[in-house]
Symmetry: C5
């Protein structure tokens, strides 16, 4: 009845690798910190398209604004959300969009976040079960954002915790894991080695120099990553730089 | 099976703009603070009709009282509620009316509130998913009230937080966003610019002078707003003044 | 398929007015405080029948005991419950009986309580949505008990809070509102004026003198009420007095 | 489609009276406190059978062990559970077995506990609604354990609280109420008088002397009870004594 | 429609005994503590296969990696999860995989954990009811991990608490109970005696010497256990040692 999950995944990761443009920042961090930058879905999608990315991760509302692109470029609908207006201790993302909605708009896959280690972890695991039941029905691949949280973490980029979260995501059924970069190749290669599904690296905080970004991409690919899901570090640049950067990243990832 | 969402939205926002009469105050604030004012649904609806508004926002109970008007004027049923009898920290609205009920009474659209940043934000996001599933089924446009809350806000009219909430609403699937006026044209134009769906401005606290209200309407329209959803500032005046004010507002909004 | 809600309501409020016998006290307050009084459903129902009341409000268990009366006298099944064994801060009633159960036993309407202003208000609003969906299906009128609660109340009989709760009940879809008497005609007339559905007055705490009760009934009717839902002030008297009192009340209410 | 509830109830309470063997202690109190006693379902069932009880109350797992007895002796499946490993303040039982499961194993009735007055009372009321909907479908009688809890209780055997809980259970739809013995005939006769469904008395804490047990049974029957649901006070004795005791109790109850 | 539960159970426990390889550690404890060990599902499955185990317990994600083994060796899918990144007080496992998913991948049985005594015990009991309803539909045996928790425990290996948890698991419907070893044969024989379904012993913390492990296996089998579910104590060794150890254990268990 529906195209297989494997086939859909192949549309995004043709050679098993992918450069994705992440664009859920406006809800996760708010628009004000991107002052002076055009964060319209239309602009971001154009950059993504011109930069030859393998997919765009965005929320349903933003996806509706770029409908004509859907079909030309794979769309990954983010199902869960949280604003950072809420207090920092309140670490939970909830389903705000159903897989059915994602399917109907023409998405190729869905994305969701789980904060492993959060006090509200169990609520998110339960929520993930619901997502999985719906993805099974519609045969949609799951790009899971496996982010560690909780009082036990040494820092947000605690390498052991990232490695744990990535593996936990794979265990419960993420088809592709997106997680933070641990900061060095050695520790990240352990994250990849212990995660038996493809690992994409989140772009992380702002990095000014293009060459520094490319160095990170090179490092994570050498560490065994299957690509990157990059956002602000691309679209905070001007259009031309952004497109070129994406192409450069693509050359490294798909090398 | 059902008339399309776009078509329904067009009934309210014919030229992409709208003046809506908001009438959910009796449940949000209680009747006592409107002492001496006739806050019957019948009166409010008559003012709305005579004032040529593009729609009325009200709860299902009130809507039943003005059944004969339905069909002549678009009705937007508010699905979520909260009284201010509950403590101020308890920032959550819950679904109290289903989309099906709204549909059956002849509503053209539905409305709901999300307090982005509230400690109970995740409950409201989950609730919104339920609303969206039902609106998708019945093809009902969503007028989302995107109101910022939480300990991080500088004030209720914190411009960055309003901008954030409006964008968050657009991202998760509000078809039209209603939010607070930030207080000045410059900051509000940023709210509108970063919100990729039409923005309506809430009437806000009482303003005595008609000319001050019209000034605000003029300012928000210049800032890019798609109209206003005004309530007490209209129906706290006498009938004639109220109708005239609505007409004046309509002239500015639909100019 | 089902008889219309309006028609059912008409069976209880033939002239738009009603005297109801309330009999949910045994679960709300427990039997011990009625020491020495026969609080069997059979006795209460007989008093109600002989006293010509327009309906009896009771729980499903009690209703099963008076099955032969059902059909002769309208039954209003209370769907929500709470005991006062639980701590006073724990202000929530939950659904304990479905509308379907009420329908099957032959009820003409259902009743439910919402404590507007309680910290758990949102749970009750959500619960009410479920009740409403089921009443819509079975076309059952809702007698909503709109009781104010919360830290903001000056007292349990805070006139502004009662006025607020009554209106809130009407807004969300109560077909008939039952609430407390504010204590004086003037403030209660405001409750009625701002509540656009019929208002019934709860009998309230024990009043010794029959004439004092009749005075209250007279006052609330003059204030615009549509009747009373009286309980302990009736059945704490002996059978003859109770029946006579109900008839007296009926004469005032249906005058 | 299903045999009527009344008919099923008659299988257990042929003369309107019943001696039930209660056997949910292993989950409520744990096996260690019954050191040296064979608490296998097989032994308990054999004692019950030989002692001519009218029914056995047990959990689904234990019921599966005595399948060959089902059909010969009515089985009442306990649907709710709680261990006493959890802290004493955490007073809630949750549904752990569905009515459908009970039906499929051949149960004649179901049992469930509600702690009236617990801080989590509302959760249990909601849970009870679910149970009732399922029992209505399968026409299964409900043996409700009405146990008072909460800070307002003078003691676990607070006579007023027991009376309250028993009545509350009857009001919400228990077909038969099981509750604690208040300790004296006079106060217990009030429990029975105000509870309009049959009342069974829980066996309570260990009583050493057989004659003391028989005295209690005699007293509660004189107080109007419809029988007893006895457990440890039976099966903590040796088989012969246990069987004889049950027969003695049966003679008193069915006298 | 589906093969019977008994038949499926027989595939795992042919002689009523079983050696299972447990492999849910990566989500329960994280990968970092197994530094230097290949914890890929492929390796673990190969060891299990070569070691002639009667089944493997693992999560759905890991199961997908060893699809070609499914059919050759019974797979038991773990449905519930919790990471130890979350705080130690937060003792709850939630359903993260449905029985349907387990069925579709070809599992022979399912596994789930309940922390009896945890403050969140009631949530897990409710969750277990959902699991049971689905296992009844698909006729899947339940391997329940009955682990005691809570403030009342003397230690994690409190013999009375283990005995309680094991029995509680049997009562609510576990088909096979897996629990901790109490540390000595005498106390463990009481756990087995009071648990009327087969008891498997969890491998527990790391034991260095092979002979010490075999001693424990011998002891628990003598105490009446039906086998072991062993994990890290097997696969933390090199492949050859691991396979040999499993075979040795098999000889003792199936003796």
């Amino acid at each position: 009845m529906f195209e297989s999950k494997e086939r859909k995944l192949k549309k995004i990761m043709k050679d098993g690798k992918a450069v994705l443009l992440a664009f859920d920042h406006a809800i996760e961090h708010g628009p004000s910190i991107y002052e002076g930058i055009d964060i319209s879905p239309e602009r971001i999608a154009r950059i993504a398209f011109d930069g030859n990315v393998d997919g765009i991760i965005l929320h349903i509302g933003a996806a509706r604004r770029i409908k004509k692109l859907i079909g030309k470029i794979p769309i990954i609908i983010k199902l869960t959300a949280r604003t950072s207006l809420t207090s920092d201790e309140n670490q939970i993302q909830q389903i705000v969009t159903s897989v059915k909605e994602a399917k109907e708009i023409g998405a190729t896959a869905i994305a969701c976040t789980i904060y492993f280690g959060s006090e509200r972890e169990s609520e998110m695991l339960k929520m993930f079960k619901e997502i999985k039941q719906e993805t099974n029905r519609f045969k949609m691949p799951i790009f899971g954002f496996a982010y560690p949280r909780g009082k036990k973490l040494k820092s947000k980029y605690d390498a052991d915790a990232i490695r744990y979260a990535a593996r936990a995501g794979a265990e419960i059924g993420f088809d592709v894991v997106k997680t933070y970069y641990t900061g060095d190749k050695e520790s990240f290669s352990k994250v990849v080695k212990d995660c038996f599904v493809p690992v994409l690296v989140a772009g992380g905080p702002k990095i000014s120099e293009e060459k520094d970004i490319l160095k990170v991409v090179e490092d994570v690919m050498n560490a065994g990553a299957s690509g990157v899901a990059i956002g602000r570090n691309v679209w905070m640049r001007n259009d031309e730089e952004a497109v070129n950067l994406l192409k450069e990243i693509g050359r490294i990832v798909h090398k």
